[in-house]
């Protein structure tokens, strides 16, 4: 993923010299990825924008610690995850209005082809993901919404790859037991051995 390349050292120097133009370029480059992580966790457009703004504000405050040898995206995503989880905790306490978030979780407004493939399944899965504990929810979102590899998730969460695998496994088990009551409709085309056929062809 291109966003995971180290940031240009000249940009880092400009950022650390308080160049607002450089910070805008920095923001434009990473905004989409950070927003995706935030939205995947909070599932509310307004809240996600607030989280992204706050995450970049904090990044700006800590720009002196930016390492030009590494991509800043895992660091930005870590900040975003912490802020998003804080937002979810506040929401759970009833501090913020949850009407919009509930609507977003119940209906992620799928595209027409997605609607044709199983809108109910997606909606039920969205609700089940929202009910996961924070740690499991985070890895699930990073894996399936941000499409990060296990190593990249480990980098973002600053933990071993084995831990990420374990959490994903537990997330799967929790989702399966949760969805046992909701019984999501399995896609008609999916059969356990279909991938085997594809692999054999390779």
């Amino acid at each position: 993923m291109g966003d995971r390349a180290p940031v240009d050292p000249a940009m880092v120097n400009a950022l650390q010299a308080d160049d607002l133009g450089a910070f805008e370029a920095f923001y434009r480059r990473y905004e989409a990825a950070v927003y995706r992580t935030a939205f995947g966790l909070v599932r509310d457009a307004m809240a996600a924008e607030d989280v992204v703004t706050e995450a970049f504000l904090r990044a700006y405050g800590a720009r002196g610690r930016l390492d030009p040898q590494r991509s800043p995206l895992p660091w930005l995503q870590r900040i975003t995850i912490n802020l998003a989880l804080n937002h979810l905790r506040r929401r759970r306490l009833g501090i913020e209005d949850i009407a919009g978030a509930e609507a977003a979780a119940a209906d992620p407004a799928p595209t027409p082809d997605l609607a044709a493939e199983g809108r109910e399944t997606v909606a039920a899965l969205g609700r089940a993901v929202d009910r996961l504990p924070e740690r499991l929810r985070t890895v699930t979102v990073l894996r399936y919404v941000d499409e990060l590899s296990l190593a990249e998730i480990a980098d973002v969460l600053d933990c071993p790859v084995g831990t990420v695998k374990s959490r994903l496994h537990h997330a799967m088990r929790a989702l399966r037991s949760d969805l046992g009551t909701e019984a999501p409709a399995a896609p008609a085309t999916v059969h356990p051995l279909v991938p085997a056929v594809e692999v054999r062809r390779r």
Binding site: E31, R36, A48, E49, G118, V129, Y144, V145, P195
Partner: protein
């Protein structure tokens, strides 16, 4: 194959082999699996009924999660006003390096400390007091010294009271410890002047000073024997009248 026999075969396979096979199938559905791992996993799943059941459960879930991720990504488009909002926040936030933030950070603790000084019983040092008195041109202890302001007097009296309280009441100090301090607080009876020890001799009419000795036991009495000096109270073991410390008692703390 007889189903019971297949289940029996599965019992002899280590548990981690089952888990690895399922993991490989999940990664295959995710699109992240290595081909070699998948070949082994598929071979295992084809002969293990339990794992086939497991895969049948997991596969729809993984594919559903991928669809869920795609749906969220389709909606996860940041608004156009994001940078404008952020730049407004940046403009409003004080920068840590500006003087605007540094100056209050330096001054505020000083202001708080000065404001709290009377509350925690800290008064001006003798050096500062002498400096302040020298502004009037009068020597410390002389009559020309500026009278204390009410606030200063309150602090002053509180300090005196604390000293007396530390010394204890005269009754608890039979040796006359209260007279060690030699201070008098307005509104409070001065034990050095009102108490007369048994056996004290009344001042003779016309005698100099007209006072009497306190702390007749001699213990704890301060000041030169025989009295006479300003501020001295009593004399050690003296039975002669001592000068009454009337004129100096108001300035017992040297002011």
């Amino acid at each position: 194959m007889i189903p019971g026999l297949a289940a029996l075969r599965g019992l002899f396979i280590p548990r981690h082999v089952h888990a690895a096979a399922i993991q490989a199938i999940v990664e295959l559905l995710d699109g992240t699996a290595l081909a070699a791992d998948v070949e082994d996993a598929l071979a295992h799943v084809e002969m293990c009924a339990a794992c086939r059941h497991e895969v049948a459960d997991v596969a729809p879930l993984v594919l559903g999660l991928r669809r869920f991720g795609a749906a969220v990504r389709a909606n996860a488009l940041p608004g156009a006003a994001g940078w404008r909002r952020l730049s407004e926040r940046l403009a409003g936030a004080p920068r840590r390096t500006t003087l605007r933030a540094v100056a209050p950070a330096l001054i505020a603790p000083l202001v708080v400390a000065v404001a709290l000084m009377p509350a925690i019983g800290v008064s001006r040092s003798a050096y500062v007091t002498d400096l302040a008195l020298s502004e009037t041109g009068a020597a410390p202890g002389s009559d020309g010294v500026r009278p204390l302001r009410p606030a200063e007097r309150a602090v002053d009296e509180r300090a005196n009271y604390d000293v007396l309280r530390w010394a204890g009441p005269p009754a608890a100090n039979p040796g006359g410890t209260g007279s060690l301090v030699g201070l008098r607080i307005p509104g409070l009876p001065d034990p050095t002047l009102t108490e007369r020890a048994p056996g004290d001799v009344a001042p003779a009419p016309g005698s100099v000073g007209g006072g009497w000795t306190v702390g007749s036991g001699g213990s704890g009495a301060l000041g030169p024997a025989g009295g006479g000096a300003s501020g001295a109270i009593g004399g050690v073991g003296s039975t002669t009248p001592a000068p009454l410390p009337v004129a100096t008692a108001d300035r017992g703390n040297g002011r």
